[in-house]
């Protein structure tokens, strides 16, 4: 089937990617720069028999999403910094309840309400650690409109396969950018659906994993009646304060992501075969990094780029593998503290030079900004 090419905005591609992945429930509270996702969903979901709900706030939005997912619908919500902060509590519930769902966080400049219409990549650590309690999370970050579509499909697939919430950490640049998107034909991309119980309703234990470390998930409202709580629980879903159970459960929540990290962690490399300097980038900043690396090569500097499509779990292995080839790493990111640069330093150790390129005033990082740092002696 031939692909159709159109000029599409990143936010629109996210909404369309979600529907392609099978999403049929969206609950949200519009906020710049994610509002077009809500707008698109309000138009598109009713056409495919889905439900769009505008909620009173972000807390209700994520709560509705968790409920809809437990009732069997592939569900998602979209927001930006201030709304993402409000969602943390129920995102923790989704982790603990092992509820498949997708949260789109289109990052904008903060702190707090900050610069509402301007881009940032400053929620990297909030995405990872925003919830209390020790838990793991999967987060993906698109650099192009095409990746907005395909990574949203991936986000739903991971959510469904591993019974986890997945964050798509986009940024204002890629979300508001329009570029040509060649739409995958129906059936072209793999779509994963959650595992259903194979036992009778009487025997069903909603939190008893099978050999693959994933527990099948029945739907609320079906003949399978079960309990989900944010408190520590046993296989049957009811509260259980036994230390052995708690120890097993916390490890299990981490283990199911650790076990599949090679499937989850996605990166792309550009000109890394023959390089002295490595640029590590994610989200829209990847594009400035790639342009800078090409311009550096024209000047005789051998530069390569590693793009992190998955930012959590962090691509330790992929970065470490490139370590022996380089003396210097450059990490451009739209935040003050170098949230990804710090992780890169952790992976590569103190003996490698990490040059940071940070921008936190609401304007973008340009290839020129990066070149300046590449050229610094």
């Amino acid at each position: 089937m031939e692909r159709e090419t159109r000029l599409v905005q990143g936010n629109q591609a996210i909404a369309e990617g979600a529907i392609y992945a099978g999403a049929r429930f969206y609950a949200g509270y519009p906020i710049t720069p994610s509002s077009e996702i809500a707008e698109e969903c309000s138009k598109l979901l009713p056409k495919v028999g889905g439900v769009y709900m505008q909620m009173e706030d972000e807390i209700a939005s994520i709560a509705a999403m968790v409920g809809a997912s437990l009732a069997g619908a592939k569900s998602f919500t979209a927001t930006s910094g201030p709304g993402f902060s409000l969602m943390q509590e129920n995102l923790g519930l989704a982790v603990m309840g092992e509820v498949p769902c997708v949260i789109i966080n289109v990052q904008r400049a903060g702190p707090s309400t900050g610069l509402a219409t301007k881009p940032a990549q400053s929620d990297v650590m909030q995405v990872r650690w925003g919830r209390h309690g020790d838990q793991s999370i999967i987060a993906l970050s698109p650099a192009t409109v095409e990746e907005c579509f395909t990574l949203t499909v991936k986000a739903f697939n991971f959510a469904e396969k591993y019974r986890v919430p997945v964050v798509l950490a986009a940024d204002e640049i890629v979300a508001h950018m329009r570029e040509n998107l060649s739409y995958p034909a129906p059936g072209e991309l793999e779509i994963v659906d959650r595992k259903k119980p194979s036992v009778s309703p009487e025997e069903y234990k909603p939190f008893l994993p099978e050999d693959d470390d994933i527990a099948p998930l029945a739907a609320y409202g079906s003949e399978y009646v079960f309990h989900v709580t944010s408190s520590m629980h046993g296989y049957d879903g009811y509260s259980n304060n036994n230390p052995a159970n708690a120890e097993w459960r916390v490890a299990q929540l981490h283990r199911k992501i650790e076990r599949y990290r090679d499937e989850i962690v996605m990166t792309k490399t550009f000109d890394t075969e023959d390089m002295d300097i490595l640029l590590i980038a994610f989200g829209a900043t990847t594009r400035a990094a790639r342009a800078a690396a090409l311009q550096a090569r024209e000047m005789g500097i051998k530069a390569g780029v590693l793009q992190l499509l998955t930012i959590w779990p962090f691509p330790d292995k992929e970065i470490a593998a490139l370590g022996p080839r380089i003396k210097t790493v450059v990490v451009p990111e739209m935040n003050y503290s170098g949230q990804v640069a710090g992780e890169v330093q952790r992976v590569l150790g103190p003996n490698i030079e990490i040059r940071r390129v940070n921008r936190y005033n609401g304007t973008i990082i340009t290839p020129k900004d990066i070149l300046k740092v590449i050229n610094k002696e």
């Binding site: 159109r6 508001h176 950018m177 329009r178 594009r287 790639r290 340009t366």
Partner: protein
């Protein structure tokens, strides 16, 4: 024809600069080219500095924004101040209805807003300007722009926009 064109359209919120960029990018895609359109604006929907950028290329567009513009449209004094003295002497189009007239070999002042009023809708000034810029630079074909306008608008609105586009084309053709 160049491999890559970078276009900046700057002015104030509500002047249709983002729509203008979208239509240009759509025209490029109709021709099988790649296009990226980006924008920068404040929290107000009307007023305040607004900028729309388009990059058109037959190759993959790696960096999404303009690095060295090939052509600029300025619809406010603030925007004109930013680009009128640009070193590379690329064509800078501006609206003489809204801005004071300036002298310079690379400066192309036309009364876009006045012409749009005469056509019947002041809101078509951006399309007149687009017609003029595209005629000057050959970034895309005028037929592709017309097709993009027909996809976006219908009936009388489409007709008026096509008229506006042709008005812009004539402005440059008759002045060369």
């Amino acid at each position: 024809m160049k491999d890559k064109y970078e276009i900046i359209m700057a002015g104030s919120g509500g002047q249709g600069l983002v729509s203008c960029g979208i239509i240009l990018a759509e025209a490029a895609i109709i021709e099988g080219q790649n296009a990226v359109q980006t924008q920068s604006y404040g929290i107000a929907s009307r007023g305040g500095f607004s900028k729309s950028e388009v990059v058109i290329s037959r190759n993959e567009i790696i960096f999404q924004q303009v690095q060295e513009p090939d052509v600029v449209l300025a619809l406010t004094e603030q925007a004109m101040e930013m680009y009128a003295t640009i070193e590379s002497k690329i064509p800078v189009f501006y609206d003489t209805t809204l801005l004071k007239t300036r002298v310079g070999d690379n400066l192309y002042g036309y009364p876009f807003t006045e012409l749009a009023s005469k056509l019947g809708h002041v809101g078509t000034a951006n399309i007149i300007a687009l017609g003029a810029m595209v005629t000057k630079t050959d970034m895309v074909q005028i037929e592709s722009l017309a097709q993009a306008l027909k996809r976006r608008f219908s009936g009388k609105v489409a007709e008026m926009n096509i008229k506006a586009l042709n008005t812009g084309v004539k402005l440059v053709k008759n002045n060369n």
